[in-house]
Amino acid sequence: MDNQRKPNTGLLSAFVALLKRDLMVSYRHLGELMHPVIFFLIAVSLFPLAINPDPVFLQTIGSGIIWVAALLSTMLALDNLFRADYDDGTLEQLLLSPHPISVLVLAKVIGHWLVTGLPLIIIAPLLGVMLNLSDSAYVALLASLALGTPTMSLIGGIGVALTVGIRRNGILLTLLVMPLFIPILIFGASAVEAASMQLPFSGQLYLLAAMLVFSLSLAPLTIATSLKISLN
């Protein structure tokens, strides 16, 4: 509380401060935080009821259901990435920080992923049990989600940054980012399916990792530029 004059608090300090603030704000909105997770849970658990509760049948469609539900739940949570900050003026202040905006938006995306993507990875094994996923598939499920959900947060961030200045942007955001999510969905679900059939799945994981590295390096720059355009 008692801050002495610090000549240069630095980029790392700003990065940590932003991450900490976002997590603190999320923590004080626990109910809102649970929406995507609850959606994920409900969506997955409805499939056996509606289609066929036969364990053998569930095993074949399980990986696809979990991945589709994870994608939709990420989609659902995306708009919150910059919406609240845009409304209360803190996004303006973020853009006026002397630090590189691309690094700061990375802190925001990481903070957002920690509260929306990470919980999905944690409860996915539980849903795997419900869908009678074969034992060999769990590693692939966790690994593919761990690589895929941050990629979706980063790519989705671009869409949110482009549309944050538009009042009712729901369908536009979906149209923008959904095509870019499709490759992640294909390789993610296919990794889990291959693993459940005892086949090698490292190829799919490598591709997902490549997509993550690619979006990790370029998405922050794109998000920063898009935000500047949106707030112009």
């Binding site: 008692d2 401060a17 603030r21 209360d88 003026g89």
Partner: protein, 237 residues
Amino acid sequence: MSISSHKSSSQTHRNTHTKADAEKQAVVEVDNLECMRGYRVLFQSLSFAIQSSTALHIRGTNGSGKTSLLRILSGLRQPEQGSVYWNGLPISSNRTQYLENISYQGHETGLKSDLNAIENLEFSIRMQNHNSSFTIQEVLEKLEIDHVSMLPCFALSAGQRQRIALARIILSGTTLWILDEPGTALDQTGLQIFESIVTEHVQNGGMMVFTSHHDFKLESVNYEQLSLDRYAVQSPI
């Protein structure tokens, strides 16, 4: 194309303060600015300069482009034509250096409503490169909001939030303050505190550009006014 000078007290005698000595060359120049909203030109051929130890009051009717001008000055908005210069360098190519020296407050307070005043202020201090020599507690006491500093901002009145936003500006320790309607929601005491803070800042070599429909009592500082209505473009229709 000059600024209608309300009170043209000489600036040369104001350099007795230490901060003013260090920053006496600080100057913001605006050259041939044009701003459009949609297909409408709000103002055109707008040029002016702001020296150290000056408060510039931007005036104009509703919709004359006051907020747009302040957003251009802060670098948030790109003008259709013209540039803004900080100490002779265009702000578009010297972003970091410029942003280290300015504070901006728009219509929104820029506070997280779930955090309390101290959490909000600590955050904004850590996002800056420089800080003022004041502590958070000192500034909160000066603004008479230290008694609500532990309440989340959503529980505060608009005036109290505005005071916290002012605390953020003071704590930034920057030279140029760009404030959009800073007097809104402030009560009589709040306005007086604001006037004394601004006077102190400007007398110490600072600069302020602000819009307001309220007349502030800033007699002891170099106070200039600029009316945007003179730069408005007549609609061709």
